[in-house]
């Protein structure tokens, strides 16, 4: 009964000349669970956002089953509302429910049943009861969403999509915030929906789940379509190698950086630290002169760990030591005083002050060490120019606004700001995100030089070739705990990814 309900053919999409998707194919049968998998940035979200009308596609065709004739017909999905009308719904990791409204109100928002021009609350209540039954949810339709757990909210979202006669349901990492028991309930709901003929696109990084509930699996890599397989006819190794692909130049880079030197001095160490709601304890050591590459997929807790080290999030359990001495870090100010600096993964949000000059941004942290009044102007210029030259920032002068620079140059300015503080421990969260190839290589050289000069470096990255190329030691996280911690000697992308998925 492999009756097709959806075909996406040769879908391409670019954002400001960067190709995100190139000729991607995806199809969906009635009542199946089709898993969509790929590394961070492989294009899964973009493909689904095109299907739900969030982004317009540049090229390609979307065919959807006509409800009357049962035939596939080309359609346009110009906006999210059109997707909902066609029965295509997406449940996001972060639910979009309105906290201070009831479950029934949330489910019917925008489509409230009316009688004589007034809200038909009774119909709304009764229909909600029916919908909640379908998602195994035993709560009152009049309960406030703010009183629900994460799992219950997710089920309400699913019920909401069913209320629009949803026939295609997209679940984005639905189990990432669920307990084991809640996962079981979700899977039971999915099985029910399948039996009712609802087709499900299931995005997840958790290998074991895919084999449990998936019917077919499609792998994307760097915005291209790699292949679609029957779950029953494949195995974990095959999927991992499809996700990574064979790239000669990268395997050559599979360097022996791990053999570089013997480290003696532990610069930074954390013991028994827990991340967010995860229970496992994290132990991590970084030596002077060492580059530790931290890999983990979205939701693994890697950025959260970095934020604990930098005092953005309070440390709940465990201790942090610098050069053997226990230190307390309650805010970034203290972290900086202890010689710890962080380059944020979100440059725009946390990295720089928009509209201000390159110089003002570079010296922002350094100002406290300069004289209080303006005669430091010359000093400031000297510092800014020094780092602009060292890091090869391409700009007309230090007075140019940072907002007018390219991503790579903005990143160099933010890095300059941190380096000006001369930290001993550098945490670089996605240092080459949104940076072009040329600037990438330059940033790698900077990182090598910093390690050479004795700094301890923790580099967080979602880019496997980058991890292998830059790191002396590779640490892999999954669900808030460390799954692998090895010197970068004869490591492969497969091995790292498998640890991250386990």
């Amino acid at each position: 009964m492999s009756e097709e309900v959806l075909q996406m053919q040769n879908i391409s999409k670019s954002f400001s000349s960067v190709k995100i998707l190139e000729k991607v194919n995806f199809d969906l049968n009635k009542g199946e669970v089709h898993v969509l998998i790929g590394e961070n940035g492989a294009g899964k979200s973009t493909l689904m956002k095109i299907l739900t009308g969030v982004y317009p596609k540049d090229e390609g065709e979307i065919l959807l089953e006509n409800k009357e004739s049962g035939l596939l017909e080309p359609i346009e999905i110009p906006n999210p509302n059109a997707a909902i009308q066609l029965g295509i719904n997406m449940v996001f990791q972060e639910t979009n429910l309105l906290e201070e409204m009831t479950v029934a109100e949330n489910i019917f928002i925008g489509y409230e049943p009316t009688k004589n021009g007034f809200l038909d609350k009774k119909a709304m209540y009764n229909q909600t009861v029916e919908l909640l039954k379908r998602v195994h949810l035993n709560i009152s339709p009049n309960a406030l969403v703010s009183s629900l757990t994460a799992a219950q909210r997710q089920s309400v979202e699913i019920a909401k999509s069913l209320s629009h006669n949803g026939r295609i349901l997209i679940l984005d990492e639905p189990t990432s915030s669920l307990s084991e028991r809640e996962v079981r309930t979700l899977f039971a709901i999915i099985a029910d929906l399948k039996a009712q003929g609802v087709s499900i696109v299931y995005i997840s990084h958790r290998m074991e789940e895919l084999f449990e509930i998936g019917d077919r699996i499609t792998v994307l890599r760097d915005g291209t379509f790699v292949g679609t397989l029957n779950v029953r006819e494949t195995n974990e190794e095959e999927i991992v190698s499809m996700m990574i692909g064979r790239k000669l130049e990268d395997t050559q880079n599979n360097s022996n950086r791990g053999k570089r030197i013997n480290y003696s001095k532990v610069a930074f160490e954390c013991k028994n630290v827990t991340i967010g709601d995860f229970k496992d304890k994290v132990d991590l050591k970084i030596h002077s002169g060492e580059i530790v590459g931290l890999y983990g997929l979205v939701g693994s807790g890697r950025s959260e760990l970095a934020q604990i080290f930098y005092g953005i999030d309070p440390i709940q359990k465990g201790t942090v030591e610098k050069a053997g001495k226990k230190i307390s870090i309650r805010n970034p100010e203290q972290a900086i005083k202890h010689g710890i600096a962080l380059l944020s993964e979100d440059r725009k949000k946390y990295g720089f002050i928009p509209g201000k000059s390159i110089r003002d941004n570079i010296v922002l942290m350094k100002l406290r060490e300069l004289s209080y009044f303006r005669p430091s102007l010359k000093e400031e210029t000297d510092i800014a120019v020094k780092y602009m030259n060292e890091l090869k920032v391409a700009a007309s002068s230090e007075h140019q606004s940072i907002s007018s620079l390219s991503g790579g140059n903005q990143q160099k300015v933010v890095l300059s700001k941190i380096l000006a503080m001369n930290p001993d421990i550098l945490i670089l969260d996605e240092p080459t995100r949104g940076v072009d190839v040329g600037a990438k290589a330059e940033i790698y050289d900077i990182i090598y030089e910093l390690a050479e000069s004795g700094k301890a470096i923790l580099m967080i990255s979602s880019d496997l070739p980058e991890i292998l190329r830059v790191s002396d030691r590779v640490v892999v996280m999954h669900d808030g705990s460390i799954k692998m911690d090895e010197a970068n000697v004869d490591l492969s992308q497969e091995k790292i990814l498998q640890a991250a998925l386990s």
Binding site: P332, I353, K356, Y372, N389, S396, S397, E398
Partner: protein
Amino acid sequence: MAQQVLANKTKETIDISSEQAKLIKKNKRKEILRQFSLLSILVLLIILFSVTTASFFSVDNFTNILRQVAVTTIAAIGVFMIILLGDIDLSVGSLYALIGVMAAFVWQGTGNTVLTLLTALAAGAIIGFGNGFITAKGKIPAFVTTLATMGIARGIAYIVTSGSPIGIVEPGFTIFGTGYVGGIIPVPVVIMIVVFILGSILINNTRFGRYIYAVGGNAQASHWSGLNTNKIRIIVFTIAGLLYGLSSIILAGRLGGALPTAGQGAEMDAITAVILGGTSLSGGKGKISGVLIGCLIIGVLNNGLDLIGLSSYWQQVIKGIIIIAAVLYDTKSKNKN
């Protein structure tokens, strides 16, 4: 200095198209033009009123205008710093009333001029600190905090005075409102100039001034850069409160006492001047010189329209139109960038 830097650089670092360079130049020109256009509006108004009325263009009237704008300008410099942070203060006018009343009570009780002045300044600073503390630590929007203190301050001023004025008949005090330095320059104008100079130094020439712009430009990035954004916010509100205290002294000095009704709508005058001066309400952008010009524009407008004989109702209408025109111009020039 820019050329020197350019010369220092290796060729590969100067990887910038001539188009981009042109754009930067163009933006710089625009910024100068903007400052200039603000000034030219002021000059235009002065010419307009000089031609249409007989009594506008005289030393006496100009001195008069300056004295009239002094109270607003001093407070507006405080409001300017708050808006630069991306916050707002609605409590200015009510604080005039409460601070004035407190000072008047101290005067009645002690008869000590110095103590009266210190009370006014301290009261302003403490209430400002409270506004900043609640906003920063409570993570409450400044709009809400100061909306509340606006009501509280005005209410207390009425309660403790039962709605009637309290006189401060002491030449040592009223001199701040009505006196002259050297027989020509009004004392309020001298205070205004001193505050403006000190404010300019703080904003443009100190580390703290730079921090205000940074927090207003991107509070999160500032926090991640190790700035204590709460402390910065609290200090700015405290300084602003101190300036309101100063304005209150001048106002009470001019009126010869404290009124619970004093300063009705003063916050709007200050905010209007700051916006007219080109300060972005979203924070991080603005010049203190713009505040002064903004205040002068409003002062000239009030004075000139009075002389023409336009009713105060019409004056409000015209001021409103000018605000919309100024902000429209501002957003339009921003969008072009």
